[in-house]
Symmetry: C2
Subunit: 83 residues, 2 copies
Amino acid sequence: MKYAAHINIMPHKALLDPQGKAVTGSMPNIGLPTIANVRIGKHITLELEAANETEAKAIVETACTKLLANLIMESYEYTVVAI
Amino acid sequence: MKYAAHINIMPHKALLDPQGKAVTGSMPNIGLPTIANVRIGKHITLELEAANETEAKAIVETACTKLLANLIMESYEYTVVAI
């Protein structure tokens, strides 16, 4: 079966996110001073073939830990749906 | 009230996503040849103050169009929840 995965990879809460910090600092300049605490990570979508949802999740898990996320600095979460 | 927004910004489907293409090509090397069509965008979380959910959505919409997303190359979607 074919599955689609949606993965969010974010910098750990304890870590400084310089990109997010810069964007937070720019918000008053576009008239939105109430926006705070911007954090920027990655959103990844992919498709895969797997026998069932458990196998699909295992494949996504492997992809995240081995390639997509840097576990020292980032955490990940994902959803897998059949398509 | 305080709201949290989760924003996904992805390259348009019609556009080539070189970063996603490179990652797709690497998947067989880590033993996951069934993964295809990887696309990589941004996941942004932020907090904001607004009187109600409608105003919160309007603020996020402005942030996306004016600063966060490049509408020529990217599309965005978001959810806003009270915290």
